[in-house]
Symmetry: C2
């Protein structure tokens, strides 16, 4: 059976084009900086209570004391977004998307105000801005909006006046002024987008992890922290299920060459992982180039098959344009070569979209004259990622052999220049990650 | 001793003037209505949890079914504003005023989104608006901002499209887009202001009380619910400590002749108290005009005296302009006739302003050459209110006699056309209210 794999990773192209028009001219300003301008992002765990907010404020104050300009982007207090989401679901399930964004964006509103107060109480002037105040203009895809433009004039004015700027992450407004949110991990995107428009010297993302690891340390004990990783690898890892950074944020950082420092709260001055250009990686400490950077697993996957699809031009297009209309984001697509005039088309979707996708697939099967649909909700995507793959052949074969040795069945395969992904049964996720990490990292780091 | 009493109730004049410019031309539209346009306001107790939000949504749906246009203004879920305020105080005390407004306005943001969802889940189209989305433009007095203008275009569009409009109460934005709040009870003001700009047929305020009473029923068992009360009486009662309606909301309703229906949640179609024009009161059921409408008590008072102030022109002006500069809102002012070239000036302030006022008074005493200051924090203002006073003489004397009979000492007296207020010791509040209610309502209603 020959596999045809489509590349459907075009989700950023619209964002790229839209932001570029507005942001590109501003990038030039970057050269005029003398003191550093740093955008910092603090996740929900960093602002989980009053004590941790105080720690963040001190972290910021220490940098401000050195004369750096600081823009702090803040998430909602840990648990708050889930609490609000739960409240909304009690009222309406599934919740109305526009109103859900109104509700959940309040979490960042509160944390930004609290952090700002704490910074002021330490004797530094500070001001908070919400999405509508700095015009973080997005499209109107509620719960997963794309940033179109940021009006940085109020941020620049506040910085010029010597203030620390605190921006509520995750939220924006569409051009009618409706409140939108950027999707899970959206505060990363807010931080990178602001760093881009300001031409910041760096963007520091404070997380409740030590940095980016070669595999999930909770699954694979021998996983090692990476000191550096290039944008492309990080992007593949993010889209392959590594939840440390939001994929769209990495994409944007890559576009504007903003160095991303992923750091734990206890190492404000250094440590963590630097996400940067591939060219910067050539100076890496190890002379021997690593073949892969990491092993990722993504359990947030579900698989659908439309069986015996008539092999006619335009049928695949009609399937995936219908799914797009339904707002289902399709990840992997596999279609085998025609047998007696029929194809089986299999694709994966985020589990949250599964029900909608399954309903759409049933309807589609009928309308295009396919025979039936099949689905599997409990699957996982295991990925090997690394720019080293470009120059090392045989990585795919070695991956498949390793999985075979563990008697793990591969349901689907998808490849890119720097990533190979296999779909396996969900319960085989951890054995698969461990086996692959041992194989490529030798059980003790690269 | 002769008492000179100044009328310092000019707090609304600025609001009046500012709103009038914008709102007056819109009032004319009112005549073109055919179906009713109703603005409803739901307090925090009405939206305390998911079940009560559902009840509110059904209340709204029942009215929408009848074809009425509905704008629902909603407070934060009961307890939420206090929770947020407590969180803020843990971080900074006193909290930064700008950031506090950012934080506490989130309560209405959440409840407006939740209510809107519930209405939608009942099959009615609905949309929520925040202060920044319908441009509820205020001045920049954080925590007590005055509404300057409301852009009603989005509300009108949504109503024309057959939608129920849900507006977050209590919040606005200043002309720079900073988030502001309107002070405690501010959602009443939001509702009345929106009713004014829309030229609504009525404004219904749903509360956790049966209506307006002749005295606080928890203090005075014989207090009776009033069916009607005129704006002026309601205004005096509100400013005299009756917390059912916000004084500024009553003032605005009076200016634009918006009938206010104060109702309990369990009587959506009627009941409660109608607050309306004095002329409408002449058709009241009772032929015998009531002398007073109610007895109010306000424990949120503190008293300050600047003793032996040199009796020179401009001294009083310098005292009260300095207090105004400090943001202290002065309520009653009493000054006795000059003795040997010196006066004692006594005034009351809200207890929250007491410390600031006391500090300002000490400074003032020195700069104007006064001898010393004295203060008393535990006082209460007892007021008799009623338009009937205009035509009945001797009410003041009867009030003082009643208090004397109970051996309640009167510290200060202030009178207006329809109100007499006496300052007494705080612990005498309840006996004073009961005695006065018995005297004027005969212990069993008017």
């Amino acid at each position: 059976m020959t596999l045809l794999t489509y590349n459907v990773k075009n989700v950023f192209s619209a964002l790229r084009a839209a932001v570029a028009v507005i942001i590109d001219p501003l990038i030039k300003r970057r050269e005029t900086h003398t003191l550093s301008l740093v955008v910092q992002k603090y996740g929900g765990a960093s602002v989980s209570d009053v004590a941790s907010i105080a720690k963040v404020a001190e972290n910021i104050a220490a940098r401000a004391r050195g004369g750096d300009g600081i823009v702090a982007v803040v998430s909602a207090m840990a648990g708050e977004t889930d609490r609000l989401m739960g409240l909304a679901r009690q009222v309406m399930d599934p919740p109305d998307r526009r109103e859900l964004d109104v509700i959940i964006s309040s979490g960042e509103q509160v944390s930004s105000g609290l952090l700002c107060m704490k910074i002021k109480s330490l004797g530094y002037d500070a001001v908070s801005f919400q999405g509508h105040q700095v015009s973080i203009v997005t499209d109107n895809s509620f719960a997963g909006a794309k940033i179109r433009a940021i009006d940085d004039s109020r941020i620049r004015e506040a910085l010029a006046a010597g203030k620390v700027v605190v921006v509520a992450g995750f939220q924006g407004v569409d051009k009618e002024g409706n409140v939108t949110t950027l999707g899970r991990g959206g505060s990363d995107l807010t931080a990178v987008a602001i760093a881009s428009v300001l031409g910041a010297d760096a963007c520091e993302l404070y997380k409740d992890v030590e940095g980016i690891f070669s595999a999930d340390p909770s699954v694979c004990a021998s996983a090692v922290k990476l000191d550096k990783i290039c944008y492309e690898e990080m992007l593949e890892m993010a889209s392959a299920g590594s939840k440390v950074l939001q994929a769209r944020a990495v994409e944007l950082a890559s576009k504007f060459s903003i160095p991303l420092h992923v750091r734990p709260m206890n190492a404000p001055g250094g440590g963590g992982t630097l996400v940067t250009e591939e060219s910067d990686m050539e100076t890496a400490e190890s002379m021997e180039e690593a073949i892969i950077s990491g092993v990722s697993a993504d359990k947030n996957q579900a698989k659908l098959t439309i069986a015996r699809v008539p092999d006619q031009p335009g049928v695949a297009a009609s399937i995936f344009s219908e799914l797009a209309r339904e707002g289902v984001s399709v990840d992997m697509i596999v279609q085998n070569i025609s047998h007696d005039g029929f194809n089986d088309v299999t694709f994966t979707v985020p589990r949250a979209d599964f029900k909608r996708a399954a309903a759409a697939a049933s309807g589609l099967a009928k309308s295009i004259g396919a025979q039936h649909t099949a689905s599997e909700e409990k699957i996982s995507k295991i990925s090997l990622i690394g720019v080293g793959m470009k120059t090392h052949s045989g990585v795919a074969a070695r991956m498949f052999e390793t999985l075979a040795r563990e008697e793990i069945n591969i349901m689907m395969i998808s490849t890119s220049e720097i990533k190979i992904s296999c779909i396996v049964r969900e319960e085989q996720t951890e054995p698969a990650v461990r086996a692959l990490h041992d194989e490529f990292f030798g059980g003790g780091g690269k």
